[in-house]
């Protein structure tokens, strides 16, 4: 094994296979309209020339992949403290990343990479939202060695090798392991709403296609004659049960594929997380970079003693809120003990819930107006004025109204802010109850908002902006919020702790 990174080196030779796969995928994506035409005209085309064409196509891609492999080199420039990657066949590029700009080094493995026994190494830098460098095929040991070198600033010291050894031994004894049972529990209890929305979108798009197909193929039958009330009821029950089962199965499969074999190991004051059934991901969690920790749990999960942790680290300044969500580290299915160990590790102690703040009942007015009164007025108005047929679905109105009212009421009842000297905990959510945990010295900006009609009732909203997202609480007593804002500002301004 060559651990001398100061000289340019190539990826593993088997990496050509990965390159080949990637290039093939890109070509197919670019050329799919032509491919489809070919498939449809398969009968008319000369089979032999098609076969030769395909053969030439594959050989060209293979050659291209090989040249790509030849021209891709990487090394550490010890003098300038830079990691350098050279790439390109005709247009050559040389990318130099200063080692102190490296935020994170991840080692991942996709299915193809797993089959041929190599790993991908991705280097995240400060400055842009996307991964800047990815080495697609290197052996695992080399990846680990390179990773620790990149993390330790690339200095050729014994410490680098030591940390590598530590990492390897650390692999054997996991700090926390999420069992398959926990994943099963998480799978059947989470993400109902999202999966339902996906299913709905899927059903709507496919039903449109079916309609078109029926029309196109000239079917013309009257449905009304065959349908009885009993059939409708049976059909509805069947659909509802079917959808519920489908949601459970999809969630279960998704959770297990994504998080199978979740293990967390300690390493030099940070945590190393690795997980995944088909694509293995590994990432590093540094406690000092953590901005907000979100603990999520719904009613079922409470009964089963599991919760999800979302850990948001400081991201790039330009990154949008969406990107920040993406970069959040998710740890599913933790029990009480595991949660406490993780929080203890990140914050140095278990966050305590301090003084409780409740929102004002006026918090429910706007959502009621927006989700209940306006949609129902539109419905009744258009049914009355234009489309009496809309009355056919009037049974859905109380169902919708009850659902919305329940969401608004529970959203209000669960909304709380807990303030202690060292922690701010915001609780919220109707079904999935989130607890966002934040340390005051991570705050960058405090902003308070009040609409002019809220002045009389002395209510308002407070937002705490951090490098890992924003926490918003309100409507609540504005005088109290202002008092708290003054306290948080005092804390930030007198603290010696850095936010990262």
């Amino acid at each position: 094994m060559n651990n001398d990174f100061s000289r340019p080196q190539r990826q593993s030779l088997v990496g050509v296979v990965v390159m080949f796969g990637n290039t093939l995928q890109k070509m197919v994506r670019a050329l799919w309209p032509i491919l489809i035409v070919w498939i449809f005209k398969f009968q008319e085309l000369n089979k032999l020339s098609l076969l030769i064409g395909a053969g030439v196509f594959f050989i060209l891609i293979a050659i291209f992949a090989y040249f790509k492999y030849l021209n891709f080199t990487f090394y550490l420039d010890e003098e300038n403290q830079e990691f350098i990657v050279k790439d390109g066949i005709i247009n050559k590029s040389r990318l130099a990343i200063p080692l102190d700009k490296i935020q994170q080094v991840n080692i991942n493995q996709s299915l193809v990479q797993r089959l041929i026994g190599v790993h991908a190494l991705e280097v995240d830098t400060a400055g842009s939202g996307k991964q800047e460098v990815s080495i697609r095929a290197i052996p695992h040991e080399l990846a680990l060695a390179l990773k620790s070198r990149l993390h330790t600033g690339g200095r050729r010291t014994v410490a680098a090798d030591e940390s590598r050894i530590q990492e390897e031994t650390g692999k054997k004894q996991a700090f926390i392991e999420i069992s398959l049972l926990s994943l099963l529990k998480t799978g059947i209890t989470s993400n109902y709403a999202r999966t339902f929305a996906l299913l709905l979108a899927f059903v709507i798009t496919t039903s449109q296609h079916i309609d078109e197909f029926l029309e196109f193929s000239g079917y013309n039958f009257s449905v009304d004659e065959y349908i009885t009330a009993e059939m409708v009821l049976k059909f509805l029950t069947f659909i509802i049960v079917g959808v519920m089962v489908l949601i459970l199965v999809i969630n279960l499969a998704r959770t297990i594929i994504k998080f199978f074999g979740y293990r967390i190991t300690k390493q030099d004051g940070s945590l190393l997380l690795s997980y995944g059934l088909i694509n293995t991901k590994s990432t590093i969690l540094k406690p000092e970079k953590v901005q907000i920790v979100r603990v999520t749990r719904n009613f079922f999960q409470k009964k089963l003693n599991i919760r999800d942790l979302h850990i948001r680290q400081a991201s790039n300044m330009e990154a949008s809120a969406k990107d920040q969500k993406k970069t959040a580290i998710e740890i599913p299915g933790c029990d009480e003990r595991e949660k406490n160990i993780l929080l203890q590790f990140i914050f140095g102690r278990i966050p305590e819930r301090g003084v409780m703040l409740k929102p004002n009942f006026r918090k429910m007015i706007f959502p009621t107006f927006f989700w209940l009164i306006i949609p129902l007025s539109i419905y009744f108005w258009s049914a009355y004025m234009y489309e009496p047929e809309l009355y056919n679905v009037i049974l859905l109105v109380p169902v919708y109204a009850l659902f919305v009212m329940a969401v608004i009421y529970f959203g209000f009842r669960n909304s709380r802010l807990f303030v202690s000297d060292d922690f701010i905990i915001k609780q919220g959510g109707a079904w999935d109850i989130d607890n966002d945990i934040l340390e005051p010295h991570k705050i960058h900006t405090v902003s308070l908002t009040q609409y002019f009609w809220q002045k009389g009732s002395d209510v308002g909203i407070v937002s705490l902006h951090t490098a890992g997202g924003t926490i918003t609480f309100g409507l609540a007593n504005y005088s109290r919020l202002k008092q708290l804002a003054n306290y948080w500002l005092y804390q930030v301004e007198t603290t010696g702790k850095h936010w990262m």
Binding site: A321, T445, Q450, F452, A467, K482, N486, L489, Y490, E493
Partner: protein, 175 residues
Amino acid sequence: MEDFTNEIIDTASLPRFEDVELTPLQPSYINVIRLNIGITFGVIAIVCGAGFYFIEELQPYWPYVAITYTAILLLTIIIATVRFRNSGFAFRKHDVIYRNGAIALTTTIIPYNRVQHVAIEEGWLSRKLGLAEVDIFTAGGQKSDIQIPGIDKDQAERIKQLLMGKILKEEADEQ
């Protein structure tokens, strides 16, 4: 650790940001706002006028369009004026306060030890009037930044110097 003390903090006696006297924006900045509104609504008026002139079918609708146009114009002017009057800023010893908004009044406060960088921006009309905008950025994302328009140009430069000095001092303190 020997000089470490840990007295109880009386939260009621902490300095209150809401009692701070805010400096209003430069009065001439209202002209910049008015000109911007004028240009936007002028363009819309020309487009509508051309539409009525060239497309005959539209002509019967002109009273509705005219009423809507006037209503939106008036509303925009009122909101912009209220917004201008509400805007104000203050630089305390440890943080900067900026208040703005018409329908919703938002007060944003950034402690100096969380400021990432400061920029000064000038539009062409603002430059003619000797005005500038001070942009204060943090690492907390777009919404957490403060942009104070309508500041006298020399003062904007002084503010920038003040903030840069504070940032450097904070950095030195932390090391």
